[in-house]
């Protein structure tokens, strides 16, 4: 699949700018409440695969096989993205008794308002829905939710073996 590209190349996809943008959209909706990195990882996934949540809006990204793997590889890039946006004063980092938390700043919302691409607009709508749906759910319960469903996300393509057989001929 074309979405999985190593981060080191100058591939813009899932790079700090895109990931940071998505994180910013989420943080803006929960402002002023901060979020943990892990919560951001899950919310980032659910933002683009909102159709994996029952009754959620259509997903922004296609439902590729094994997409649940994205939950595992996002962390590093998410950190870089958050650092990038923090360098422009759009994200704030806090050390709390609960751990390392991130939040939006007072300039974050106006930054997002400037963006006009259709993707960005859709992204912000999803962020609103996500905050409304899971905003009050604790980190622990969010994790539980993920654990429960992670096996389903990306397991739709049952006939994949047919393709492998074709390939091997």
């Amino acid at each position: 699949m074309t979405s999985e590209r190593p981060v080191r190349f100058t591939a813009p996809f899932n790079g700090p700018i895109e990931i940071g943008l998505r994180a910013l959209a989420v943080l803006v909706e929960s402002y002023p409440s901060p979020m943990s990195l892990q919560r951001l990882v899950v919310f980032d996934y659910l933002l683009v695969h909102s159709d994996d949540v029952p009754d959620g809006p259509p997903g922004l990204h296609p439902r590729t096989p094994h997409r649940s793997g994205e939950l595992l590889v996002r962390r590093q890039v998410l950190q870089e993205g958050l650092s990038l946006y923090r360098s422009r004063g759009l994200v704030d980092r806090q050390f709390t008794p609960s751990g390392l938390l991130f939040s939006a700043t007072d300039t974050s919302a106006s930054f997002l308002d400037v963006l006009q691409s259709p993707y960005a607009i859709e992204l912000r709508a999803r962020a609103v829905w996500l905050q409304a749906t899971l905003g009050t759910v604790t980190d622990g319960n969010v994790e539980a939710l993920v654990r429960e469903h992670v096996g389903e996300w990306g397991a739709e393509f049952t006939m994949e073996s047919v393709l492998w057989a074709e390939d091997s001929e």
């Binding site: 895109e18 360098s87 422009r88 759009l90 400037v114 691409s117 259709p118 960005a120 074709e166």
Partner: protein, 619 residues
Amino acid sequence: MTTPGFQLTSLTLTGQGLEPASLIFGAGLNVISGPSDTGKTFIAECIDYAFGWSQKPSDIPEAAGYETVALGLRALDSGVEYVVERSLRGGGAKVSAAGQPDRILAEKHDPKSSETISAFLLKLCGLDGRVVRTNAQGKTRQLSFRDLAQLIVVSEQDIIKKMSPARSGQNTDKTVEDSVFRLLLTGVDDGSVVAGPDKAIVSAESRGKAELLVFMLEQSRSNLELMAPGATQAGLAEQLVRLDASVAEATAALASEQGAATALEERRRAVWESLRESQSRHAVLSELQGRFTLLGAQYESDLLRLEAIAEAGVRLSQLDESRCPVCGAEAKYHSDEHPDHAVAPEAVAVACAAEAARLRVLVRDLGQTSDQNAAEVRALRDAIEAQKREMYAADEELKTFFKPRLNDVLTRLREVRETQTRVRQALDICSRINELEALQSQLDKSSPVTSKSKFAAAAGSSATEQLSLKIEELLKAWEFPGLQRVTFSDADQDILISGRKRAAFGKGVRAITHAAFTIGLLHYCLDNRLPHPSVIVIDSPLVVYRDPDTEEVGFSRKLKDLVYTTLAAQSERGQIILLENEDPPDGLPATATIIRFTGAAHGRKGFIPQPRARSNNEG
């Protein structure tokens, strides 16, 4: 064997403290004459007793106290003199001879033993080990001396009997007696006769077989009726032929139907194969199409994202860096550049544009591939439909047209085969019935072995003719009145004199002719060098009863004298001992031994001497 047989030399009766009673015999004719009660018959009984007779001599008062009878005899060929001693109480005998060890002989003949009286005497005659027939089926046994006894020792009762001299009158002994007679006449015994099965057993077996056959036939016939009522073997055979033809016909029809169906089935199978192929390929390509769709969506999504990222990058770069994006240090604290930090937002916009261009190419290519695949999927779907229709049509045709026809033929074939099997089974029963009937007729034809057959004829008419001639010679010499021919009757084993059966004459004639028969047999054997004991003892052949027989009118004293004179003249032709009431005529040659009992005080009273006062030296 030059002169078989033996000659009696003496007869002696002994008892403790008693004077022995003794007779000395000579060669040729011996006459012992005297009135009744002088022991003549007793003499004959003693001789026969010494010959192994199981019956002891009569218990006459004069013989009281006597214990042993001793018969002296001389073998004619070797000249050895034997004495056969036997206790009057019974048991076996002792034989002694000079220069030989004594032998103890058993009374009864035993084919396995040579130490019997019978074996001893038979050996002297050259008749040991001979075999005679005992029944009509050819059972045989060894000859015993007792078989000869009635032909050589004739008692005063037997001399007048109506039966043939060769027969005793017991019907069960007839076969043996005839066989013995034949043996003497021909010298050939029945050693080569093979015994056939006992008539009674054979008959019982036959009955059993016949019953079984009847039972089996009934069973088979009723089975046949059940299986094929009213059918005949010929009818069934015909039916089978027709059935075979039907089977062949039905089989051919089946083959042709199957052949026609086969072509259609082949086509159907071919269609089925390609249908499966199509369906399989359709499944694969459909799956692939799904992937293409997904990829297309991916590309679309990617294009949108690129647009957003480019915009965000531009906007970000317009903001001042208040912190280091890598380490987060505030600008005022940051001096060195980090190596390896993420690409600057400015550069990202350029990269995004390039990437988007590449993507658009991919989208176009994908579009083409996807369209092609979609077309093929559609084509396959159509092909599948067509093939399904074709298969369905073939199925229908097979089902509605061929199948029923096939079933019909199969059913017909099965029915015919079933009938065929039934008919075959019925025919099997028919042939079984035939076999049984054949066995039955075979059984009816073969009657139990009756070998009254041709064995008996072996006596050969010439032997009996010659015997008849000898007897005729004797009767002629005795001037038998009215003598013409003497002929032989095989059935009676007896002679006919002048055409009249011997048994039909009165007892006086019967006595004389019995003697002639016995002596004639002796002469016949001697003249033809056939084995014979060579000694004959006849009791009262010439006695005529007081009551005259109207038959006896022609008898004269002359006949009796002639008997004596002719026999006396033939002393070289065997030893003949006659016991008679009347004295023989005077003037007989010295070769004849004449012993007269007086029955009175003068001369010799009788065989057994009067008891005298005992003295120690006698007895």
